[in-house]
């Protein structure tokens, strides 16, 4: 077990190093650079800026300097937020994205399992048809549409009530996170519902369920311990990458609901070619994704003892 964990961690480090290297060279090969701006600057100012940011050195030197800095945990200074360390940006904004993401994942995970189990239980009956229709909507409507509609709905509800039931945007209290996290988790919830449903239906027909019924186990025990527990495995498998996808994919929701998360830095840095922020957020999110996949793999072994043997 420890050996397995260690092996996975080493693989993870190599993956992150690869992500960092690929991003570094891809980024430097894009036309333009972070120092180009609306107002052209003279050769001299340009030279001073390059000197300040170390961009005047050969690209390979820059790479080694940068990697050395990363190893010391220093991601450098942002080009667009000129006074801020990338470390500070991540430290201040990732917790916000994480809180939003955790809530969205919990919504998506619990919702997906419950709706999926429900539809499987009532397959081809009214609840199944209605929920599966909504699931198709949830999967196909992009989050920026859902976010905008949800916000508009909030405005109208507040307008009709004459007071603010829930805040329209912003961050800070329990009420601010409710709607954005639901919007953020919606697509994943829909996807998990489908996954859970098909996984349940597969298991309902399997031999061990027939055996359980034949030996007279109570229905609640069969449902909980045999059907749900086994059907949930594929959901857990995709949950790891989903956590990373939700936490990193919050850009639109963060923008619409004016939430100070890391997602907007992640996206805007690419548009602005903000080298240090691109690298910092990519490496950070890359490491986060790799870590989540490892955690899920270990969790998987805990839920399904057969995996540990391999």
């Amino acid at each position: 077990m420890w050996q397995y964990t260690l092996k996975r961690l080493i693989q993870g480090v190599i993956t992150v190093w690869f992500i960092a290297t690929a991003t570094f060279f891809a980024m430097h090969n894009v036309p333009g650079d972070p120092l180009i701006n609306d107002r052209s600057v003279t050769e001299d100012i340009r030279a001073n800026l390059e000197e300040k940011y170390g961009l005047n050195k050969p690209i390979v030197d820059q790479y080694f300097i940068y990697m050395g800095n990363i190893l010391r945990g220093d991601f450098g200074i942002s080009f667009t937020q000129e006074n801020r360390l990338v470390n500070d940006i991540i430290r201040e904004h990732f917790p916000v994205s994480a809180i939003l993401g955790i809530l969205a994942v919990v919504f998506a995970g619990l919702g997906g399992v419950l709706w999926g189990a429900l539809t499987a239980l009532y397959r081809n009956r009214l609840p199944d048809v209605v929920i599966m229709f909504l699931v198709i909507l949830g999967i196909s409507v992009p989050s920026f549409v859902v976010a905008a509609l949800a916000q508009l709905a909030l405005v109208n509800v507040n307008d009709v009530l004459g007071f603010s039931l829930l805040p329209v945007a912003g961050w800070g209290t329990i009420w601010h996170m409710l709607v954005p996290s639901m919007v953020l988790g919606l697509g994943t919830m829909a996807y998990l519902t489908r996954l859970m449903r098909s996984s349940m239906l597969e298991i309902v027909n399997s031999d061990f369920i027939r055996t359980a019924k034949a030996k007279g186990l109570p229905p609640t025990k069969i449902f909980t311990s045999h059907q749900l527990r086994n059907a949930i495995l594929p959901v857990i498998t995709v949950l790891g990458p989903s956590i990373a996808a939700i936490t990193t994919g919050g850009f639109v929701v963060e923008l619409v609901f004016a939430i100070p998360g890391l997602g907007r830095y992640f996206v805007q840095a690419v548009q602005q070619l903000d080298y240090t922020v691109i690298m910092g957020t990519t490496v950070f999110y890359g490491a986060f994704l790799v870590f989540m996949v490892i955690v899920v793999d270990l969790l998987y072994g805990w839920i399904d003892p057969r995996v540990r043997l391999e």
């Binding site: 894009v30 036309p31 333009g32 180009i36 701006n37 107002r39 052209s40 600057v41 003279t42 001299d44 100012i45 001073n48 800026l49 667009t80 937020q81 000129e82 006074n83 801020r84 500070d88 940006i89 201040e92 917790p95 916000v96 809180i99 809530l103 919990v106 619990l110 419950l114 429900l118 239980l121 009532y122 397959r123 081809n124 916000q151 405005v155 307008d159 603010s164 805040p167 329209v168 945007a169 912003g170 961050w171 800070g172 209290t173 329990i174 996170m177 409710l178 027909n205 109570p218 609640t220 069969i222 449902f223 909980t224 923008l255 619409v256 609901f257 004016a258 100070p260 548009q271 602005q272």
Partner: protein
């Protein structure tokens, strides 16, 4: 699911009940989790104000910022959001008043001569720590802006001061700058060359004062946080949560006690999403918001207070005049000019509220001798004339000795408006002139990189003003201007730019701008698209908010709440 599994109803209902219990547990779990997360998020310290847009009791308004201010170090700041924040909290020698006229600020009175200027500073101007604002603070601020080690992108605006350019290039020491503090309250400036508009320059934030001891104490982090900046404006920044909110309180030490009327301005939201800000406005959470065309009718039905202002920027197609480019040919450019109609673009294609069809590089709001420049010197932009356009096209082909033009590359931004525009031009040039246009869509920095390297035939470009003088646009196509990215070279135009720069007489300067405008149109140097307007709604109780093309926008320093 092709196979329907036979199910027992008793099993289903028992399992269904079990599922309901799980659902209830999940619900409870989520509620607990939310409580926990709410506590955790309070640790991140980024609570948005739940206040209403206008709060009479605390005399506070709540508004938004389009983005986190990227740079509040006045010597380095270049962008509009930082400029708006700085306009509330830091004051230079002069400022623009609510009617957009120059008004005394730290300087009580001033005198601009042909080769220099003198500013007499008021004695009651104070920094937020109680120390007086002195002439030495201006000298230090300007030297910092020009210091090559500081690498300011706006250093060029200080080149008006003697030796400024040489210092910025590292050819002369900082001490040689043509500015000195005769005493604590008298500032003497020497110009590099004769100059008539220096008073307009000093209202710009690069000319703001910086106090040396404080600047050094921040160790390179000047302006990085609320407590790493020293204030002398009508407001001070009392809290700044990066990326989330920024709050200003009235500055009790400000010399003009009656100027600021609000006790606080709460920039509680930071988002660039226009729908989000409009929704916040509808929910009575922010006191103003921009309108987009699709919301205009709705806003009128709701009888909201709708206003419009020109934000100062002009947008146009810039040609690549480099040798070897087809667009270097005068007749081809003329053909393209005569085949287009900016009114059609603005009123029928983009349909953005508040936008004006472009006719000139000089926008309509620029002041001339007595009134507006564009009224005194009409653009006389040629009307669309397809016949004539085709004649010019034939002439161009003859001059270049070709039968057919290769597809022309139109470099464009990746935003929706640029896309609509470039497709409009593609279709118009095909229809009227049979020319093929290849649209090259690029994100911001890539587009700039391609403009700089000359990798285009035409580009959708634009320009916004730095100071309130036609020269901020007028020198754009001078052969030495770095922002002349199509590299237009015309000695006659250069001559008139020099006149506009150095001449003291207002009439002669404005005549020069008239000539520049004529050359730009006659030689079809650019094809004007539109002047950008902003349509916005304000809270009925918020009065005195100022929108402007040059200087801090929006400006709440004179705003008040009507009860």
């Amino acid at each position: 699911m092709s196979e329907v599994v036979p199910s027992e109803d008793s099993f289903t209902s028992a399992a269904g009940k079990q599922l309901l219990i799980f659902a209830a547990l999940a619900f409870g779990g989520i509620a607990l989790l939310m409580l926990g997360l709410s506590w955790a998020s309070s640790l991140t310290g980024s609570a948005s104000g739940g206040n209403n847009a206008v709060d009479v009791a605390s005399n506070t308004i709540t508004v938004f910022l389009r983005e986190e201010p990227p740079q509040l170090n006045s010597s380095l700041s270049t962008d509009q959001v930082s400029g708006s924040v700085l306009g509330h909290v830091i004051e230079g020698l002069l400022r623009y008043d609510e009617n957009n006229r120059l008004a005394p600020a730290v300087a009580e009175r001033w005198e601009v001569r042909e080769n220099g200027a003198t500013f007499w500073l008021r004695e009651d101007a104070r920094w937020s720590d109680g120390e007086p604002v002195t002439a030495h603070d201006f000298v230090f601020g300007w030297k910092t802006g020009l210091d090559p080690a500081n690498a300011s992108e706006y250093a060029f605006i200080l080149y008006a001061i003697k030796n400024g350019e040489a210092i910025n290039k590292g050819e002369m020491p900082l001490e040689s700058l043509g500015v000195r503090a005769i005493d604590d309250h008298t500032l003497e400036v020497e110009f590099e060359r004769p100059l008539a508009y220096f008073d307009k320059l000093v209202a710009f934030s690069t000319y703001a004062p910086i106090r040396e001891d404080f600047y050094r104490a921040t160790q390179g982090a000047y302006g990085a946080d609320a407590d790493k900046l020293l204030y002398n404006g009508p407001f001070v920044i009392s809290s700044w949560v990066h990326g989330a909110s920024l709050k200003m309180d009235r500055n009790p030490l400000y010399w003009d006690k009656d100027r600021a009327k609000l006790d606080a301005i709460d920039f509680a939201y930071i988002t660039s999403d226009a729908n989000a800000t409009l929704n916040l406005f509808k929910d009575n959470k922010i006191a103003y918001a921009s309108l987009q065309s699709e919301n205009l009718n709705n806003a009128m039905e709701l009888r909201w207070q709708i206003d419009r202002f020109m934000d100062g920027s002009v947008f146009y197609i810039e040609f690549n005049h480099r040798e070897g480019r087809p667009t270097a040919n005068h007749h081809l450019r003329k053909a393209l000019q005569l085949a287009t109609d900016s009114a059609e673009l603005v009123y029928k294609v983009t349909k953005l509220p508040g936008y004006l069809p472009g006719e000139s590089l000089f926008p309509v709001w620029l002041k001339g001798v007595d009134g507006f420049l564009r009224e005194e010197y009409p653009a006389n932009y040629p009307a669309m004339d397809v016949e004539k356009a085709r004649w010019h096209l034939a002439k161009a082909k003859e001059e270049l000795g070709i039968d057919e033009f290769p597809p022309l590359v139109l470099l464009s931004g990746d935003n929706p408006i640029s896309s609509i525009q470039s497709e409009y031009y593609q279709q118009v040039f095909k229809k009227h002139l049979g020319l093929d246009i290849k649209i090259d869509k690029q994100i911001f920095k890539q587009r700039l990189a391609k403009m700089l390297s000359g990798d285009f035939d035409m580009v959708l470009a634009g320009w916004g003003p730095d100071y309130d003088d036609p020269l901020t646009f007028g020198d754009l196509f001078a052969s030495w201007n770095l922002n002349n990215r199509g590299q237009y070279r015309n000695p006659e135009l250069d001559k008139w730019v020099r006149v506009a720069q150095n001449e003291q007489d207002v009439q002669a300067r404005m005549d020069a701008f008239g000539e520049i405008q004529r050359i730009l149109i006659d030689d079809a140097v650019i094809l004007p698209n539109y002047e950008r307007g902003v349509t916005y709604v304000t809270h009925p109780q918020l009065k005195g908010m100022v929108r402007r093309a040059v200087g801090a926008d929006p400006d709440f320093t004179n705003a008040w709440i009507e009860e």
